[in-house]
């Protein structure tokens, strides 16, 4: 089988130990996906597999076999993705290192909320989810930012959520 990454098929690596993260960064030069901990604690390595957010450092490349992976490079393949534009507009970045992970996580998070998945701060577990500032903050808490771009990141995501709801 093959791993389809941003629309192109790749063979899984021969070394079974290779994580999806290292496949992307070291072997395919898709270095838009970042690494901050290699143990699932920072979110910098977030990519989408079949549209859902995963931490590529905790995913063996072999686990992505036969599935569709989207990285930051594939997200805005034709022009800027609305989230990428919103991050620029709201200065949701400083060093830019956590940024691809934040954007990929946000892309999947918007879909999760639209599908009605509740979070820790959702009051009514059965009603449709409205993305408040607190909802976004809670749902994005797996993505660390050390520069402190948090306010801009949440503003950017809220602006896209509102556009999509309209």
């Amino acid at each position: 089988m093959t791993i389809r990454i941003n629309g192109t098929d790749y063979d899984p690596p021969e070394d079974a130990r290779v994580s999806l993260l290292d496949l992307l960064r070291d072997r395919l030069q898709l270095t838009g996906t970042k690494v901050g901990c290699n143990q699932g604690a920072c979110g910098a390595c977030t990519v989408l597999i079949d549209g859902r957010r995963v931490l590529s450092c905790l995913t063996l490349a072999a686990q992505a076999d036969g599935r569709k992976v989207t990285t930051i490079e594939g997200l805005g393949a034709d022009g800027l993705h609305p989230l990428q534009a919103a991050f620029l507009e709201h200065d949701g970045l400083q060093c830019g290192y956590c940024t691809p992970g934040q954007i990929c996580a946000a892309a999947a998070m918007l879909v999760e909320a639209e599908a009605g998945m509740p979070s820790y701060v959702t009051a009514d577990l059965t009603a449709p989810v409205t993305l408040s500032r607190d909802e976004v903050r809670e749902r994005m808490s797996g993505n660390l930012c050390r520069c402190g771009a948090h306010n801009g990141i949440v503003d950017a995501i809220l602006s896209v959520a509102q556009e999509r709801a309209a």
Binding site: D15, R17, V18, D22, R25, D26, Q29, T31, G32, T33, K34, V35, G36, C37, N38, Q39, G40, A41, C42, A44, T71, I72, E73, G76, L80, Q84, F87, L88, D91, L93, Q94, C95, G96, Y97, C98, T99, P100, I103, R133, D134, V136, R137, E138, M140, S141, G142, N143, L144, C145, R146, C147, G148, A149, H150, N151, G152, I153, V154
Partner: protein
């Protein structure tokens, strides 16, 4: 930092106090101050788009043919020697190219410790690097494995067997205090400072507070890991590193490996966060040596654990602050002393008393820092080293005094605002912290604070407000050089080896070049991040922007003469001298007859030249010696504390700043907020846990060291006075570190206001409130 240095700085200061201010840099304020141009506008980050696309190439992302990968092995004892090291299994493991230990590491002298007087001295530790079998702290590098892939290197590293012969090591802060030493200087300031009879004033003051405050070990935790990709071609070395000191690192590597400076190129166009942690440590030396040994380009990306083990953070401190006040709340005594760690092989004095010297007026001062030696990775500069934690102790003490006096804490601070440097008497270049306090209090709604602690409540939550002052000295580094090029197509480029770590440096450089040359923003580009360019100083001390700005100013002053020379006799400018023209409207114009003008394009076309370049350095930063120059802040916090769990939630945070001209409101606001958020971590969540028995860091992971996450960060309001500093380039002062100063105090004071409980020990975790 020696006695000699004290004498030199002292002598220079007293000589300068006789020099009229207008003779000094900034005596005639920078002509750009107050002019409406690109400076002061919300220009977007010039590197924003490639960053959101994931196209910005960081140090560990440079592809090279034949690249191999390295992993480090760390000691598990604090002090002693390696009795046995068996690397046979590692050497024969698949893919392994090399195991480096003290047995085969080439002779390399460690870089000299960081020094204010030598920009090429950039070492954070001067311990030997893999030169012998001795171990000096728990986590020190004892071996490195190089293999064809990262997986192979990581696996082989686990196969190295080491037996140690442990020696006695002091690893306990409390016990090491008795052997503390007193160093003469803290950076360029005298350490011990005695002004008036502070202990006596304190004893006789009608109101006084006198308490001990403790702050924790911390780590920078930039999200990008320390990493470099190094390649040798013959005796030429190219290093892609993530560093805050490009020029210094290139010089240090040249020295360490015995090659001429121009044979080393360090490239670091993007740095994924630094905060003081991305300097020279052992890993660069090991990686560069290993690359030479294997004869292949090599990448060493530290694991997060390795970063904790060999890159030091902020020292823990124990600080005493005592304040005596008269019946009106005017300070009669201000005492600040304490202990922090500085091993003899490290260089960071953690100057937590520096801010205290200029924060408030007082009749007497007594200030002293003591340094203790324990066997740990050397602590280093971390965002607002000293000030971030010194203001916690000082601003908590002021709050405690206000409570004793039954006075509003803002009022007490305003009553003790200095109008000149309280100790040296030096005039402030510009100082409007009082305005920052008043503007901040009004905007925050400070009047809603309950004067009596523990009286506001909503359900299980007690609610409180607190405030804290912050201050950070203005620093401009000597020796920044830039090259300014103007081209025939009407564009210009500013080049220097500066570093962009997310502060927005590159963006404001473009803005000021546009203003200096009278060009539109779109015509200006910047080249930074390369040691082959004219040497900029390191990014540290919130000094980079003004240091580069002074050099840009010098280059822009040189450029008109060059252009007039090229313009020749048939130009409308013919006969004019450099002092008689201005750069505006994409060219030169006569200052007195603005109709006499010619564009850069026209001048260069006639001269048949593609471009003209000038290189210049900034003037020596004498303004720092003549004036008291500080960025200041007033911080406000509102939070809730749960009666049930002791959990603290910060609901509102406001920073009100007086930092001179704000060059770009958008990137500046992000800088301020970033500092404030790191301050929240210092106050509430972050702590590097050292096992005091073994000297080993017990939580070297982002899972166990808690940096603030989205849910911990409220919406943060930032405002500023925007009053230009007449003594600095562009009227600006530093903004990168002021954001973290004052926050921990504001949070602790809000916790007291909410609960009536005074916590003098950071971080304020819920167990301390139950």
């Amino acid at each position: 930092m020696s006695r000699v240095q004290n004498v030199i700085v002292g002598t220079a200061r007293s000589a300068l106090s006789w020099v009229p201010a207008q003779w000094l840099p900034g005596g005639t304020p920078d002509p750009l101050i107050g002019r409406h141009g690109e400076i002061g506008r919300q220009a977007s980050r010039i590197d924003g788009e490639i960053k959101v696309r994931g196209e910005a190439r960081f140090a560990a992302e440079v592809a090279m043919d034949g690249l191999c990968y390295a992993t480090l092995v760390h000691s598990t004892i604090a002090r002693g020697r390696i009795a046995r090291l068996d690397s046979t299994a590692a050497e024969t493991a698949p893919g392994v190219l090399l195991v480096v230990t003290h047995r085969n590491m080439p002779k390399v002298a460690s870089p000299s410790l960081v020094s204010m007087s030598d920009p090429t001295a950039v070492g954070n530790s001067d311990l030997p690097i893999l030169q012998d079998d001795r171990v000096h702290y728990n986590g020190q590098v004892v071996a490195a494995v190089v293999a064809a892939t990262q997986e192979q290197a990581d696996h082989a590293a686990t196969l190295i067997a080491i037996d140690y012969e442990a020696a006695q090591a002091e690893t306990r802060f409390g016990q090491a205090k008795s052997g503390a030493r007193i160093i003469p200087s803290l950076l360029i300031e005298r350490n011990h400072l005695s002004f008036g009879k502070a202990e006596r004033e304190l004893a006789r003051a009608p109101h006084r507070v006198d308490n001990l405050y403790r702050t924790q070990w911390q780590n920078h935790n930039a999200i990008e890991l320390h990493a470099l990709t190094a390649a040798w071609v013959g005796d030429r070395l190219t290093v892609h590193d993530t560093t805050q000191m490009i020029a210094g690192e290139a010089a240090a590597l040249a020295k360490a490996f015995g090659i001429p400076r121009d044979q080393v190129q360090v490239l670091s166009p993007f740095v994924g966060g630094g905060f003081g942690g991305k300097g020279m440590w052992d890993h660069q030396i090991v990686a560069v040596a290993a690359a030479r040994m294997v004869g292949r380009p090599l990448r060493l990306q530290l694991s997060r654990e390795s970063v904790y083990r060999i890159v030091g953070g902020r020292s823990a401190t124990e600080q005493r602050v005592a304040i005596g006040a008269d019946a009106d709340g005017c300070f009669t005594a201000l005492l600040h002393d304490g202990w922090s760690v500085m091993p003899p092989y490290g260089a960071c004095p953690e100057a937590y008393t520096l801010g205290t010297r200029s924060a408030y007026r007082a009749k007497s001062f007594e200030i002293l820092q003591r340094h203790i030696d324990i066997a740990v990775v050397p602590n280093t500069f971390m965002r607002a080293p000293g000030e971030a934690i010194g203001t916690f102790a000082l601003e908590s003490a002021v709050d405690e005094l206000a409570h004793n006096l039954a006075m509003d804490p803002v009022e007490l601070r305003l009553r003790n605002m200095p109008d000149k440097h309280p100790i040296t008497g030096a005039p402030f270049s510009q100082h409007a912290q009082d305005q920052a306090w008043r503007d901040g209090a009004a905007r925050f709604g400070w009047e809603q604070r309950a004067a009596k602690p523990g009286t506001r409540r909503e359900g299980e939550w007690r609610i409180g407000m607190g405030c804290g002052g912050g201050s950070f000295p203005y620093v401009r580094m000597p020796g920044a050089a830039v090259r300014l090029t103007v081209r025939r197509d009407g564009t210009a480029t500013l080049a220097c080896s500066g570093q962009e770590m997310g502060m927005g440096t590159a963006t404001v450089v473009v803005q000021q070049v546009a203003d200096r040359l009278g060009l539109p923003l779109s015509a200006v580009t910047v080249e930074i991040g390369d040691s082959a360019l004219p040497a900029a100083p390191m990014a540290g001390g919130s000094s980079q922007t003004v240091s580069i700005a002074a050099a840009v100013l010098a280059a822009a002053e040189k450029l008109p003469a060059e252009l007039l020379r090229l313009a020749g006799n048939s130009s409308p400018l013919s006969g004019l001298r450099a002092g008689e023209v201005r750069m505006e409207g994409e060219g030169l114009a006569s200052a007195s007859e603005p109709a006499r003008r010619e564009t850069f394009r026209a001048i260069l076309s006639r001269a048949n030249l593609e471009e003209v370049s000038v290189t210049a350095s900034g003037t020596p930063p004498l303004e720092m010696l003549k004036f008291a120059m500080h960025s200041t802040a007033a911080m406000f916090c509102e939070l809730r504390v749960s009666d049930v769990t002791g959990e603290i939630r910060v609901d509102r945070l406001l920073g009100s700043f007086d930092c001179g001209t704000i060059l770009n409101p958008r990137t500046a606001a992000s800088q301020f907020r970033g500092g404030m958020i790191m301050g929240l971590g210092l106050a509430l969540t972050e702590e590097t846990l050292l096992d005091e028995r073994s000297g080993r860091i017990m939580n070297p992971t982002l899972a166990d060291y808690h940096v603030p996450v989205h849910m911990d960060v409220p919406q943060i309001d930032v405002i500023w006075t925007d009053i230009p500093d007449p003594r600095s380039p562009l009227g600006a002062r530093g903004i990168g570190e002021i954001g973290i100063t004052g926050i921990a105090g504001a949070v602790a004071n809000a916790v007291f206001n909410a609960t009536g409980k005074r916590v003098r020990d950071l971080p304020i975790t819920l167990d301390k409130l139950l």
